[in-house]
């Protein structure tokens, strides 16, 4: 099954374009889990297992974030694998790795994520040049989401600045990715932040069929209404990501599982106007 087909089915099955970011911050894991499990690796695994159980009917995708697993140290990738194994088969899994390197190193990153961990998609950083994407481009079952415009203030340092005769580096990247997407089996999507609505519409117009990974909803402050307008004419499927506002919805509550489930359900509901355009 192609990535796009799996993505379409994931949206249909869940009736949701929600992606849940798995960013397990040890200091914010529920007390009940910390009491029951002594070591951080077990705490992270048990917490994310519960999160996945509570939220899977509300989302189309999960996005485990490698930084949080690496912070666990030598066991980090073991826990990453265990968490992957808990995610239902019909969900899209995006490894949020933001890798970017050349030649043999890039090939090894592609091997790691597309063969060994065998996730559906990976986020990539194109700064070293578009050649860094090459080892990821030959698999129609996979996707890459390339950093194009992010939702943090630091976007003004690079991605939101004029570049190569374009209004922004983001527009330049989107144009290039549109060509790369047309010429390769792998689905070439973009990471575009939800907090930059005005520029966002112009950027995605350069790559109108692009699958989109859109962080910045929730704790980062993007608006769902604004986003719906931006996406009105976009043909590619968007996944709208929320991480911390779902994971830590029940941070100080004994009913943390219920709070997490409720929060995911609320996001799903709020995203309905966008989801409906694609199912």
């Amino acid at each position: 099954m192609t990535f796009t087909h799996k993505l379409e089915e994931a949206l249909q099955n869940s009736e949701s374009c929600l992606c849940i970011g798995l960013d397990p911050n040890i200091s914010r894991i529920p007390k009940a889990i910390k009491k029951k499990y002594k070591n951080p690796e077990d705490q992270v695994f048990q917490f994310l297992k519960a999160v996945i159980n509570e939220t899977s009917k509300h989302c189309a995708a999960y996005k485990p974030n490698l930084g949080f697993f690496e912070a666990l140290g030598p066991q980090g990738l073991l826990i990453f694998q265990q968490v992957l194994d808990e995610i239902p088969n019909d969900k899209i899994i995006i490894a949020d790795a933001k890798r970017g390197d050349i030649s043999s190193t890039a090939e090894h990153y592609a091997q790691a994520y597309f063969e060994v961990f065998d996730v559906d998609a990976v986020t990539l950083n194109p700064l070293m040049g578009f050649e860094t994407l090459n080892p990821f481009l030959n698999d129609s079952q996979k996707a890459i989401f390339v950093l194009t415009l992010t939702s943090n203030s630091g976007a003004d340092d690079f991605l939101a600045r004029p570049f190569a005769n374009q209004n922004s580096m983001a527009e330049y990247i989107a144009q290039k990715l549109s060509h790369i997407n047309a010429e390769n089996p792998t689905e070439v999507g973009m990471v575009v932040g939800a907090t930059q609505a005005r520029e966002l519409k112009e950027i995605i117009a350069h790559h109108p069929k692009s699958a989109l990974l859109i962080p910045g909803i929730g704790t980062q402050g993007g608006s769902i209404d604004g986003l719906k307008n931006v996406l009105d004419n976009h043909q590619g499927i968007p996944l709208i990501n929320s991480s911390r506002s779902i994971l830590y919805a029940g941070e100080n509550s004994d009913r943390w599982k219920q709070e997490i489930a409720n929060q995911a359900a609320e996001y799903k509901k709020a995203l309905q106007p966008i989801t409906k355009q694609y199912v």
Copy 2:
């Protein structure tokens, strides 16, 4: 001990500014090791242990490359830790991770490399903005090497292009890093490719005290003579990296250990004109 002090001592002890990149490609590991050890994790560990033993008197630093460890899968970071444990204490260890992310994720990457794995330095990718560096800036025992100009052809897509009223994005980055370095305890160095000698001199002039990590010598084709001229007026210490041409020097030989040692010794010797400027 500050990073800079440790770096100075590493150069003095080894009389070498050579950095050896640890990029363990399974398909190029010596047959003798593959016969003796069945699984890839053991092969990588035993190979790199031998490489470190054979080369440590010829180099100041090692640069393990995370892509190759992640390609090992769930055990990847365990092997990474085991390899770190084999590196002599007086060597600089640079985790070649090229990470770049924001807020809580960036904090977790900093925790992973500066606290949990506790290496001396990490390579970082600044595309999401200079704020991505913040969690790494508060430790005088540590350094970051930020991608500034790379030696691959894809550098022409971003880093070598005019940007923000500068001749190149690389110059813009170097200027910013010089300021960040002046204001923070962590040593803020640059990754600058050796194959772009002409531009390189202008770029490092913007950050004249910068520690430098210079790949592109050896299999990537940079020239040591050209590099010496470039570095003539530079105050920061350069580490000149070679990876594959040392690791795979004995690829098809029964005397592979000796070939690796010889190749490292040759690099050390060839780099003497540069090393002498800094010890």
